[in-house]
């Protein structure tokens, strides 16, 4: 295929390709070494001859295009040599610190400066010595390290011939050469490409003697080529694949040939390969006519070369947030973990239920911190912590979200510090902290405090409404009363954990008295607030009890008049992690049980395989003793005199609302009178608050198995 005589020689532009690794290393360099220093940085680009008939090769930047980060090295990248697939060419990077700075760069000036370097290398002869200088390039960029996006623009400076060169003809090398010549040239090229000393030399001279023998030489051997009867070809590695156009490197090559050797007619070889071997069918031979004026080489020629982006003269942008943003990487790693559990062990694991359940944790102490962590480990993302306390110096040891820093300056609020800690562990968690006290019966309030206490009650009610599952993790019995009532009223999944000195209780509350076990599944429990039917729960199926159903006394002030060791809950350290872990596992089991909150209480037995549920049994209560290293599962049913969840109390709450709450808070015997517990009390002794003792007092409403 030949072109008409004298047609304009048009070059295929050089195309850039930046490997992710380049941006990774550049980000690291910028963060660790360069800082705000925006002086130009020498870099190395790589290209190779085209090796695919339909895809051009690119000028590529890799991680090794940049200098290494080690402190003792200078900011110059390590040159590679002898690699046939990576011909090194020098480049320079101007990275700005702001987007405005990027736009404000004087692009023409920068292009002229780099072009001037090429011209200088040509004029002084340096380019003949080291021909890769002819393909010098320029890169400007703005690395946005907050969003992990990189704006950049390449320029491949090309010196312009004035007037431009004309193309006499251009055809595949196999057509221009004789068969013998083509074979000899192929062999010579393959040797050149396989020899470490010349494999990455992208410009060369080809001489073909009258016996059809081809020889390849370095540019500096120009004088040795001046022998009559020899055909001379100016060869270069052509990254372009197009059959009718030579690649970009030829532009500066022609400028050199004209300026240094004054030739008017140039036979050139666009060297291309196929599968790593010289291919004379893909390679092109052409003849260019150079008609520049006499004085052309006395002044620096004009230059062009900014890379187009889809035909427009605008920069490019690449976003690497997917692979560089640590938060995204943490999220996908966490997801993978859970998916693996599902794939390998538990195909019925409901990951979407776990990631969408909204958990409210009342208490951010030893239990609250551990429960929060365990929830995150299960893939729960929506966690709210409520606590009105501040982190004290003794807390970090047992309360796993706090460190010493949280104790300083009087101590941060626990709810706030806990949330920050959770986000440090897993940035994608949706955690909120609420600094609030939980109103408690038996702690009377005067009239000034009344309004704010009622506010807290309403706020607590709103919080419970907004969540699907509530954990009662406070350190007094009475603080659990109001939450229990509100949860029973709205039928929320409620889990209590309570610690003694060396024993613990973890239990799930039964459904509220106004609920009905109809077509329940985990999803509806989460999405709807409460399924209220005015039908009381059927006799045939007892509601499971709540934390207070066992009690025969109303919760009241347990904190005054206690000795110091009774005031600060002193427990064996191992208890809280055990109880917290069990509490979370209990929630996960509920979420996977088809009847959810309405599920009956199982007790563990020695018969293997009694449970049909993949996660095993779903107990009602778990009581453990560290003194015995033992644990037992119990079932307790609701009491019709329960001060927190019986229908008398709940009806009263529904009728009188906040007024009822206030009564309970201010009058210690109100609840007992209301429920009829007063009559059940056997003795009127001042009660102790050790709940183990209460068990001894326990009334006949229980239906549980005790060992």
């Amino acid at each position: 295929m030949s072109k008409k005589e004298g047609a304009l020689l048009q070059f295929a532009p050089m195309q850039s390709s930046v490997d992710e690794g380049f941006w990774h290393r550049f980000s690291s360099l910028k963060l660790n070494k360069l800082g705000i220093d925006d002086s130009p940085l020498p870099i190395i680009g790589f290209y190779a001859p085209c090796s695919h008939s339909q895809v051009s090769n690119h000028l590529t930047l890799l991680a090794e295009s940049l200098p290494s980060e080690s402190s003792d090295s200078s900011l110059v990248p390590e040159p590679s040599s002898g690699n046939r697939n990576k011909c090194s060419v020098p480049g320079i990077l101007y990275n700005t610190n702001t987007m405005e700075g990027f736009h404000a760069l004087d692009k023409m000036k920068l292009l002229k400066e780099e072009a001037a370097k090429i011209w200088n290398d040509i004029v002084t002869g340096k380019a003949v010595e080291d021909c890769s200088m002819l393909s010098r390039f320029l890169l400007i960029s703005f690395a946005d390290l907050k969003k992990w996006s990189f704006h950049y623009w390449f320029a491949f400076p090309a010196l312009m011939l004035d007037p431009p060169a004309a193309l006499v003809n251009l055809r595949p090398a196999s057509q221009w050469l004789s068969a013998a010549e083509a074979e000899s040239l192929s062999t010579a090229c393959n040797e050149w490409r396989n020899s470490k000393s010349t494999a990455d030399v992208p410009f060369f001279l080809v001489t073909i003697d009258p016996q059809s023998r081809a020889t390849i030489r370095l540019l500096k051997d120009w004088d040795a080529c001046q022998s009559d009867a020899h055909k001379i070809l100016f060869g270069f590695y052509d990254p372009c694949h197009l059959p009718n156009n030579p690649g970009w490197p030829l532009r500066n090559f022609l400028a050199l040939i004209s300026a240094k050797w004054n030739l008017k007619s140039v036979q050139f070889l666009c060297y291309r390969e196929n599968r790593g071997f010289a291919d004379m069918g893909l390679s092109l031979v052409g003849e260019a006519l150079i008609t520049v004026s006499e004085g052309w080489k006395d002044t620096m020629p004009n230059a062009v070369g900014w890379e187009l982006n889809k035909g427009r003269k605008v920069p490019r942008c690449i976003s690497l947030a997917q692979s560089m943003d640590p938060t995204r990487l943490a999220v996908s790693a966490a997801d993978l973990n859970l998916k693996l559990m599902r794939w390998r062990a538990l195909p019925s694991l409901n990951l979407s239920a776990l990631s969408s359940v909204k958990c409210l944790l009342l208490g951010a102490g030893t239990l609250g911190c551990q429960v929060a962590r365990m929830l995150m480990a299960w893939g729960v993302r929506k966690i709210t912590l409520v606590d009105n306390g501040k982190v004290a110096m003794s807390n970090p040891l047992r309360q796993s979200l706090y460190t010493l820093d949280d104790c300083l300056n009087g101590g941060s609020f626990k709810a706030t510090a806990a949330v920050e800690s959770l986000k440090r562990i897993f940035p994608a968690v949706e955690a909120e902290g609420v600094v609030m006290a939980i109103p408690m019966p038996g702690h009377p309030v005067n009239s000034q405090e009344q309004e704010s206490v009622l506010d807290d009650c309403r706020r607590l009610s709103d919080l419970i409404d907004a969540h699907d599952s509530v954990f009662l993790l406070t350190d007094t019995r009475e603080s659990r009363w109001l939450p229990t009532l509100l949860c029973a009223n709205t039928n929320k999944i409620t889990i209590t954990a309570a610690l003694g000195f060396d024993s613990f209780l973890v239990m799930r509350h039964g459904a509220g008295p106004f609920s009905h076990a109809h077509g329940f599944n985990a999803e509806t429990a989460i999405s709807s607030s409460s399924d209220v039917h005015k039908i009381k729960d059927a006799k045939g199926k007892h509601r499971l009890g709540c934390y207070f159903c066992n009690d025969v006394v109303a919760p009241t002030d347990s904190t005054s008049n206690r000795t110091l060791d009774q005031q600060c809950t002193v427990t064996r350290p191992g208890l809280a992690p055990i109880a917290s872990a069990l509490a979370v596992e209990l929630l996960v089991s509920i979420l996977h049980h088809p009847e959810g909150i309405f599920a009956e209480g199982d007790i563990s037995s020695n018969v293997i395989g009694t449970s049909e549920q993949p996660l095993g049994i779903l107990p009602h209560q778990i009581r453990g003793s560290l003194a015995q290293f033992s644990q037992m599962t119990l079932v307790g049913y609701s009491s019709s005199s329960c001060t927190a969840c019986c229908d008398t109390v709940l009806s009263e709450y529904r009728n009188k609302g906040m007024e009822f709450i206030l009564q309970a808070i201010n009058h210690p015997t109100y609840l007992e009178d209301l429920t009829g517990l007063t009559e059940l009390m056997k003795s009127a002794t001042a009660f102790s608050l050790d709940w183990d003792k209460d068990d001894d007092d326990g009334g006949g409403d229980e239906d549980c198995v005790e060992i």
Binding site: L8, L9, Q10, F11, A12, P13, Q15, S16, S17, V18, D19, E20, G21, F22, H24, H52, Q54, V55, S56, H58, T60, L61, F102, H103, K107, M108, W153, M160, L161, P164, A165, L242, N245, R251, R275, N302, A303, V304, W306, N309, K310, G311, R312, K313, V314, P315, R316, I318, L320, Q322, S323, L329, S332, A333, L336, K339, L340, W343, R344, P347
Partner: protein
């Protein structure tokens, strides 16, 4: 280290192979590939040292096949990839010299694929890692890669609980690559070699391990294994 060699002859094989066996298998595989696959780039061994203290033998590295190109027709090109730039950062026509010598060409969009076969010391099997990017280097998100995968790939991945694609950090390059999770590999490798006592001889297993492994794995990512390579198994 491989005292297991003698033990293996007696005890049933568990479908895994040791790190040094992996190197032997890799050499056999890449050599066969070159022989039977003239039109596709070769698998090259890339030596890498990861655990300078723990590495107990000399040849540690992975097999690499880079530069597979998938040319997209113009209908499939992503128009959403182009940014709408305000003309703040363009170069006005007056500034740059008028240049007719530059060819204006519209190039096809090409998806480039790189594949690595990396040994997993914890699962003791090979793992296929891959990534894809456009010509300018922009990595392809998984949604785009899925469009390139053959139709039966989705079927295999949904049916087999053993075959799924995840994104994880490449053990040597420290960047996220996609990989076919190895948790089921030893199971089905056992099945592939099962029943034929002749096949269970040590040397044979190692030499043909990667070929067999690849005949399954390759299907998920659309890499075909030439029949010639498979036929050598049945002798």
């Amino acid at each position: 280290m491989d005292q297991k060699e003698s033990v293996r002859d007696i005890t049933p094989w568990d479908g895994t192979l040791s790190s040094s066996d992996f190197f032997s298998a890799a050499c056999a595989f890449s050599e066969k590939w070159k022989r039977f696959n003239a039109f596709v780039p070769p698998w090259l061994w890339v030596p890498s040292r990861k655990h300078h203290l723990l590495s107990s033998h000399k040849e540690e590295g992975y097999l690499s096949l880079e530069g597979m190109c998938l040319i997209k027709s113009s209908e499939e090109q992503e128009s959403c990839r182009s940014q709408t730039w305000k003309e703040e950062s363009s170069i006005s026509q007056e500034e740059e010299a008028v240049d007719n010598a530059t060819l204006v060409c519209i190039c096809d969009e090409v998806n480039h694929y790189d594949f690595h076969i990396v040994y997993s010391p914890s699962y003791r099997v090979p793992v296929l890692y891959f990534r894809s990017y456009h010509s300018d280097g922009q990595p392809l998100p998984f949604g785009e890669i899925e469009k390139d995968l053959p139709d039966h790939s989705a079927k295999i991945r949904s049916e087999s609980k053993w075959t799924f694609i995840t994104q994880e950090e490449h053990p040597y390059l420290n960047r996220p690559w996609y990989k076919l999770h190895p948790c089921g590999t030893s199971e089905w490798m056992k099945l592939l070699f099962h029943g034929d006592t002749a096949l269970n001889k040590n040397g044979f297993v190692i030499e043909h391990y990667l070929v067999s492994w690849f005949s399954v794995i390759g299907q998920v990512v659309g890499l075909k294994i030439p029949l010639g390579m498979l036929e050598t198994l049945s002798c």
